[in-house]
Structures are given as structure tokens and as C-alpha cells.
């Protein structure tokens, strides 16, 4: 089963093959890349400055100057939605990095070494499991000050033990697999086994979790903003926008909440699809790793 024999002749064959194997992956990736593009190009493609207030054009319906209408402070909803993707990624990506940075080594060590480290991790997980996450996030953000940074750090920290547990589960499975046992039997030192045999496979298995966690990060930051903590006005963050707009839905100014709501839903959907797709692609059945 060599890769060379399967080299495609046409440049589109690989992506098309991928699409056939997992359409969810492709759709999810497409959505995420779309919003990423919005985030990166925001200053260029947004028609207005997202925090510029047009004092005389408050709550304008979509159409005319404001394609998505204007909100309660006279700011353009379209520009705010586009810039909002910066904040979505600005929260999801660093939170994800923190999560991996802490969770990966923790999970590896706990799964491989076992012992007191494993116990400590499990106990911490117990505490976190029983602690209502939203409340914890709320309390911490309220306590450490209303800033984006504190929110990102909190979300990343909260996610780490969950990620660590996934990694740990992967490591445990791998540890009892044939090829690892063989590697140990042959005489590899434990650090090498961990580094060469377990780590890459564990990462593969845990990678599918990453987009899900990022989706959760985006959702929880929106919920926190809705309650009123974490984001300072007039930051164009989708959750804060929905908070302001939610009030207007009943009196007919539907656009203030709908567009950021759609954007939020679509991006979270994209992350979830991406994660699902990755799980499909990295399924053990197709990995061909000694099973």
C-alpha cells in the first residue's frame, strides 16, 4: 500500500476524491475558509468602519446605503458582521491553541505514564464536570475584568481538560495496540515510543476534536456577550450584536439580530462539519494502523 501507486493524474482528482469520501469535510472546510477570508480581508471589503456611528441613521432597514441595515447606534450591520468574524477567529484560534498547548502534553503524559498524574487529571476533570461551565466562565470573566483577553484565556483553560481527556483516551487505546507493544518489545526507550509511535497517531485522533472545541468557544463567547460580560461596546462581536438586536425583533427591526445570528450559526456549523469530516477521514478503519 504505497502512496506512489495512487498518485492522481489530474490535479482535481485529489480534492474530488476527498469530496466523495467526506462531503461534510469539504462543506465544513469551505465555510470556515469563507469566514476566514472575511476575517482577513475585513478592512478591505467592509463598506464602513464597523464602529462608525451614523447618528442620524439609527435603525435603518436593509437596503440603500446599509446593505444589512443599521443598528441601534447607527452603525452598519454588514460591516460589523464582517469584522465580527475577526473576533470569532480571534477568540476561537487562540483559545484552541491554549487548549492544545495545555491539553495535549497533559493528555499524553497522563495516558502514557498513568499513576498520580493520571489520577490528578481525572480528579480535575471531575471538578470541572460538576461545575456548570457557563457559570464558571461567567464568574471568571466577571472577576478578571471585562476584556477579550481574559475571555480567551478562560475559554482555552476550560477546554484543556476535555481535550486532555480525548488525547488520553487515544493514548490508552494506542498503548494497548499491537504495533506499540511490538515497538516496546523490540527495545525502544519509552520517550521514543511516545514521540514516534504514539504522538502522531494520538494527534490525528484528537484533531477531529479541535474544530468542535473552536465551535464551542465561539458559541460560549456569544452567550457571555449576551448576558453582558466579556466584550466592551462598541466591539463588533456577534454575540454582543445579537444581544442588542434581540430586543428589536418583537418590534419589527429584525435585521439587527438576524444577520449576526446567521453568521454565528453558519460558522459554528462549519466548524462542526469540519470536525465531523475529519473524524470520517481519520477513521481507524482507513488508517491502517495494526487493527
Amino acid at each position: 500500500m504505497s502512496a506512489e501507486a495512487a498518485t492522481p493524474s489530474h490535479w482535481l482528482a485529489y480534492p474530488l476524491g476527498l469530496a466523495r469520501r467526506s462531503p461534510t469535510f469539504v462543506v465544513g472546510l469551505g465555510i470556515v475558509l469563507f469566514f476566514l477570508g472575511l476575517a482577513l480581508l475585513a478592512p478591505v471589503i467592509a463598506p464602513f468602519n464597523p464602529t462608525q456611528s451614523f447618528s442620524y441613521e439609527v435603525l435603518q432597514a436593509p437596503g440603500g446605503r446599509f446593505f444589512f441595515g443599521s443598528d441601534g447606534n447607527g452603525m452598519d450591520v454588514l460591516s460589523r458582521v464582517i469584522h465580527g468574524s475577526r473576533y470569532a477567529f480571534g477568540i476561537a484560534v487562540p483559545a484552541g491553541l491554549i487548549m492544545v498547548g495545555i491539553g495535549l502534553p497533559l493528555g499524553l503524559l497522563a495516558g502514557y505514564k498513568g499513576g498520580w498524574l493520571d489520577e490528578a487529571l481525572l480528579r480535575t476533570l471531575d471538578v470541572l464536570r460538576a461545575f456548570p461551565t457557563i457559570i464558571l466562565a461567567l464568574a471568571v470573566v466577571a472577576a478578571t475584568g471585562q476584556s477579550l483577553v481574559s475571555m480567551v484565556v478562560v475559554i482555552g483553560l476550560l477546554d484543556s481538560p476535555i481535550f486532555a481527556r480525548v488525547v488520553r483516551a487515544e493514548v490508552l487505546t494506542l498503548r494497548s495496540s499491537t504495533f506499540v507493544k511490538a515497538a516496546i518489545a523490540v527495545g525502544n526507550p519509552s520517550w521514543r515510543v511516545m514521540w514516534v509511535h504514539i504522538l502522531p497517531n494520538a494527534i490525528l485522533g484528537a484533531t477531529a476534536q479541535l474544530p468542535m472545541r473552536m465551535a464551542w468557544a465561539v458559541r460560549i463567547s456569544a452567550t457571555l456577550a449576551f448576558i453582558g460580560v466579556g466584550i466592551q461596546a462598541p466591539t463588533p462581536e456577534w454575540g454582543a450584536m445579537i444581544r442588542q438586536g434581540a430586543e428589536y425583533v418583537i418590534t419589527g427591526e429584525w435585521w439587527v439580530a438576524l444577520f449576526p445570528g446567521l453568521a454565528l450559526m453558519t460558522l459554528v456549523l462549519g466548524f462542526n462539519l469540519l470536525g465531523d469530516g475529519l473524524t470520517d477521514l481519520l477513521d481507524p478503519k482507513r488508517r491502517g494502523v495494526g487493527k
Partner: protein, 523 residues
């Protein structure tokens, strides 16, 4: 023939009587969608919802008269003070001693009659609790309260002042049915404060029937109320925390009153035929305050620059949707003696000039802190940020929890350099308002407004009895305040109450809360 005829008449009358009696005794209920159930009813201890309930449960010795306003509707006349629970009074020539004759036959829902003992008991209780009731007493310079006979009470003031009679219109210090209250006193709690926190015993039009925390409170009419019987005999106060839900409820007729509706939704509500929006300018002003103890606000030129760099027109449009009245001074009509002292208009060049004269040629960075006490705070702050930038004042908005704001802006704490605040009070008396807001010892002085000259003027106006001299003092004080520029006066947000379309009889009272007894709904 005659016999059967008279029998028929009797029958008809009898039928009519049996039908009519239940109609007359039928209960009229008003359902209110409120943001939270009241957490307590003792007017001396403020908790959320307390004032909104207490103004309907407890009444004062005096009340404000009414007049016909510009739009033909009745409105409060702050210059007329009429008897209420007191039927008359006399005042000594030096203005320091008042003798009140109480109205006879005023009974509480428990059946006890109002006597001078109740009045004395109230002041004793406030003195022990040392909270809001005590503050009102000090502000009105009440020295002694004595029972002279069963229906006579004598007040001795430390100084003759203009606030006193107006203060007596208030619901605090509340006049309790002390006979009933004393039944719930204990040795550790001789004034039954624990019982009075969660129960009511007064001579007002309504009375608490049940309270289910977090769900609803039900108030019923006081069957012994000494004045005109209210139309609504039962008030159901329902907790509906989400403002959007409250709007949905009033628009569908499920409730007949919805509190704290976001201002920007009022436009849509005004257009809705099933809803009636009553708007009154009131006299509370939305202001931005600067604390002169923190640079750069220690320099008067910087403060004036801020006043010039405010885009008043934009604020009026964006925040108040063209419906607010511009505030012209720290006192506004209908308060007597209000003049147009605040002469600042938008002028960015002047602002920049003043800034560089004060030593900030390249502008300055400041943080504007606000909370969620009033709906206009955040939109106003954002407009300030936008317009200040044009004069080089770079504003960073910062929202802080309301409890933190309350703590930091307290007298003698004063750790907020730049903040939003509503200038208002319960009593439409100019001296009282200035005392609260701009005097160094005033409890609504949130920005360390401590100017010796100002304090002198205010103190003098409180005790000045000559009308002309008094008005001159008021004008002086307002001009002094405007020149010091520690307040940026923007607009009067007004009071907007949202009712079902049938509701009539709403009259705005200076305590700015809904009075239930005036309302009728002929549906």
C-alpha cells in the same frame, strides 16, 4: 290586576338588584409585566422594586396639587401643596414650627385609625435604622416630631426651609400603622423592621396580599382608604425579566402595563393601536460628569472643552430619537427657578483651543465609565466617543457592573473620573435638587463636586424665605455650576409609560413612579 302588576315590578326590581350587586362589587384587576418582583417593602431600605411598590402603599401628610397642563391634561403643580393625610396645618412666624391636624377616620387595612402616635413612631424607627428615612429628615431639617394630642403633631425644624412641605408628600419616612406593626416587634427588633420588610401596614390605597418571590406579587385595594376609591381593586405584579418578552405581552394584550421598555421600541409601540404610550419630559437630566479630583478634569478649561466637543444634535437624534428635550441647566422645568444657564453648544475649534490652552495641544486620553442603570448610558457613551474624537479627546468606553458603579460613586469615595449619571430626585424643589446633586454633602453628588462658593449658595437658598432673593440665589448657583462645567448637560430622557390602549388617568408624579390609584380602563 294591580296586585300582579306590583308583583311584576317587585320581580323586575329584585332581578335587577341581584344582577347589579355583583356587577358593582366586581374586582378590576390590572396585570403588570415588571422586570422583577419587589424584594422588600420598607421604604427606609432600598431594594429593587421597593419604590415602585411603596409609592402605592404609603402616603404622606401632604400632596401636590394639580393643574391643567399645556396639552389639556391634568399635571402636577409643584408650587401647590395641599393637605392629604393631614387636613390642615399652621406654621409659626419664624417658619420653624408646624402644627398638623390629622384627618380623622383614616384607617389601615387592619382597621386601625391614624393617630399622632403613628407619625412619632415612624420617625423613631427611621432614626434607629439610619437609612433613607433619616436622610430625608435631615434634608428637611426636621429636629423634633412630637404628638400633641390624638390628632395633632408638632414638627420643630432647625431652620425654616422650603423643602419641608414637599418632603412630606413623599412615601418616606413612611407613615405606618404602628398598632399593627408593633404586634410584630421583638426585643431584638423593636420596630418590626423584619416584618415590615416583607409585609405592608399603611394608610395608602393598596396593601400587599401575597408575595411569591421570583413569580408575582398581588396587591389589593385598602377597603378603608380615606380618599376616592381606586378603579383597579387588584394589582398583579408579574416578574418577566426579559424586556423583549414584556413587549410581546403588552402588544398581545396579556398585560395592561409593561415597565422599562427600551426607548427605541417606543416608536413602534406608539404606532400600535392596542398600546398607549404616555410620555412626560420630567425633570431628570442625562448628564456626563467629570470628577475634578482626577486629571485632566482638574482643569476647568479641559472640562469646558469636553462641553464644547459634545455633539448635542447627534445625541438628540441617535440616542433620544428626536424626542428628548434639551437640558438647559442642572435644574429644568417644571422645577421653579430653573434658568437657561448651560450655554455650551458644539464647537470643535473652541474645544481644541481650550485643550491646548490647558496644556494638551495633542489631545488627551480618557476612559468614560458607565453602567446599566439607565437605558441611555451606552448609546450616549458611544456618541460621546465619536464626537470627542473630533476635538482630539480619545475616549475609551468602559462598562462596569452596576454594583461597582454604585460603590465607587458614593459620597466621599468618588473614584470614578468620568461617568454617566441621571440628575433627578423625588422632590421638585430647586434647593433640594441642587443640594442632592451639586453640594459636597449631597448623596447624589457622584463626581466630587465640592466647591465652597457653590455650597454656600445652595445652603443659603435652602433657608431663604424671600421669594425674589431666593430666585436670584438659584440663578447664581446655576450659572456657577454651568461655568464650572463639571456636568455635561445633554437631554431630559423623559418618562415613558406603556399601557394597554384603554388606560386613562395617568398623571406623572415627581417621584417618577407609576401611581396605580389614578388609573382607569373603560374597556
Amino acid at each position: 290586576m294591580i296586585k300582579s302588576f306590583s308583583k311584576t315590578i317587585m320581580l323586575v326590581i329584585g332581578m335587577w338588584a341581584t344582577l347589579a350587586v355583583p356587577v358593582v362589587a366586581q374586582e378590576k384587576t390590572l396585570v403588570m409585566a415588571m422586570s422583577a418582583t419587589p424584594k422588600g417593602f420598607d421604604p427606609d431600605i432600598w431594594v429593587p422594586g421597593q419604590i415602585e411598590a411603596a409609592v402605592n402603599l404609603y402616603e404622606g401628610l401632604t400632596r401636590y396639587g394639580t393643574r391643567t397642563g399645556g396639552n389639556g391634561k391634568p399635571e402636577v403643580d409643584p408650587s401647590k401643596i395641599e393637605p392629604h393625610l393631614a387636613e390642615s396645618w399652621t406654621v409659626s412666624p419664624d417658619g420653624k414650627t408646624y402644627l398638623f391636624k390629622l384627618k380623622k377616620g383614616v384607617r389601615s387595612p387592619f382597621g386601625n385609625e391614624l393617630t399622632s402616635q403613628d407619625i412619632v413612631w415612624t420617625y423613631e424607627k427611621s432614626a434607629v435604622q439610619k437609612r433613607t428615612g433619616q436622610f430625608m429628615r435631615t434634608a428637611a431639617r426636621i429636629d423634633k416630631v412630637e404628638a400633641i394630642s390624638k390628632y395633632e403633631v408638632r414638627y420643630t425644624l432647625s431652620d425654616a426651609n422650603r423643602i419641608f412641605l414637599g418632603a412630606l408628600t413623599l412615601h418616606l419616612p413612611a407613615i405606618f400603622d404602628s398598632v399593627e406593626a408593633k404586634k410584630h416587634a421583638t426585643p431584638e427588633d423593636p420596630y418590626a423592621t423584619k416584618w415590615l420588610a416583607l409585609n405592608t401596614a399603611g394608610f395608602g390605597p393598596y396593601h400587599l396580599q401575597t408575595l411569591q418571590g421570583g413569580q408575582q406579587a398581588v396587591f389589593v385595594v385598602n377597603p378603608n382608604y380615606a380618599f376616592k376609591k381606586p378603579y383597579f381593586t387588584r394589582m398583579v405584579w408579574r416578574e418577566v425579566p426579559s424586556p423583549a418578552t414584556r413587549v410581546a405581552l403588552i402588544r398581545t394584550g396579556q398585560v395592561q402595563y409593561a415597565e422599562q421598555i427600551p426607548f427605541q421600541q417606543l416608536t413602534a409601540l406608539r404606532a400600535d393601536n392596542s398600546v398607549k404610550v404616555e410620555s412626560v419630559p420630567g425633570f431628570g437630566g442625562a448628564t456626563v460628569r467629570m470628577n475634578p479630583r482626577y486629571p485632566p478634569f482638574d482643569k476647568v478649561k479641559v472640562r469646558q472643552a469636553v462641553a464644547y466637543a459634545t455633539d448635542y444634535a447627534a445625541i438628540g437624534e441617535a440616542v433620544f430619537l428626536g424626542q428628548g428635550t434639551r437640558s438647559r441647566s442642572m435644574l429644568n422645568s417644571p422645577i421653579a427657578g430653573a434658568v437657561s444657564a448651560y450655554k455650551y453648544e458644539t464647537d470643535y475649534n473652541k474645544a481644541k483651543q481650550l485643550l491646548s490652552e490647558a496644556g494638551y495641544p495633542n489631545g488627551v486620553d480618557v476612559t468614560l465609565e458607565y453602567s446599566t442603570n439607565w437605558w441611555w448610558e451606552e448609546p450616549l457613551v458611544l456618541q460621546m466617543q465619536a464626537s470627542m474624537a473630533k476635538a482630539g479627546i480619545r475616549v475609551t468606553p468602559k462598562r462596569i457592573p452596576s454594583t461597582e458603579m454604585l460603590a465607587r460613586r458614593t459620597i466621599n469615595v468618588w473614584t470614578v473620573p468620568f461617568l454617566t449619571h441621571l440628575t433627578s430626585s423625588f422632590v421638585p424643589d430647586p434647593s433640594y435638587n441642587m443640594f442632592l446633586t451639586a453640594h459636597c454633602r449631597g448623596s447624589s453628588n457622584v463626581n466630587a463636586n465640592c466647591d465652597a462658593a457653590m455650597d454656600k449658595l445652595i445652603d443659603a437658598s435652602v433657608v431663604e424665605r424671600d421669594q425674589k432673593r431666593w430666585l436670584a440665589l438659584l440663578e447664581q448657583a446655576q450659572n456657577l455650576q454651568a461655568d464650572s462645567a463639571t456636568f455635561v448637560e445633554t437631554f431630559l430622557p423623559g418618562t415613558h409609560e406603556v399601557f394597554a390602549a384603554c388606560m386613562k388617568g395617568y398623571v406623572w408624579k415627581p417621584h417618577n413612579r407609576l401611581v396605580w390609584k389614578d388609573l382607569t380602563c373603560a374597556s
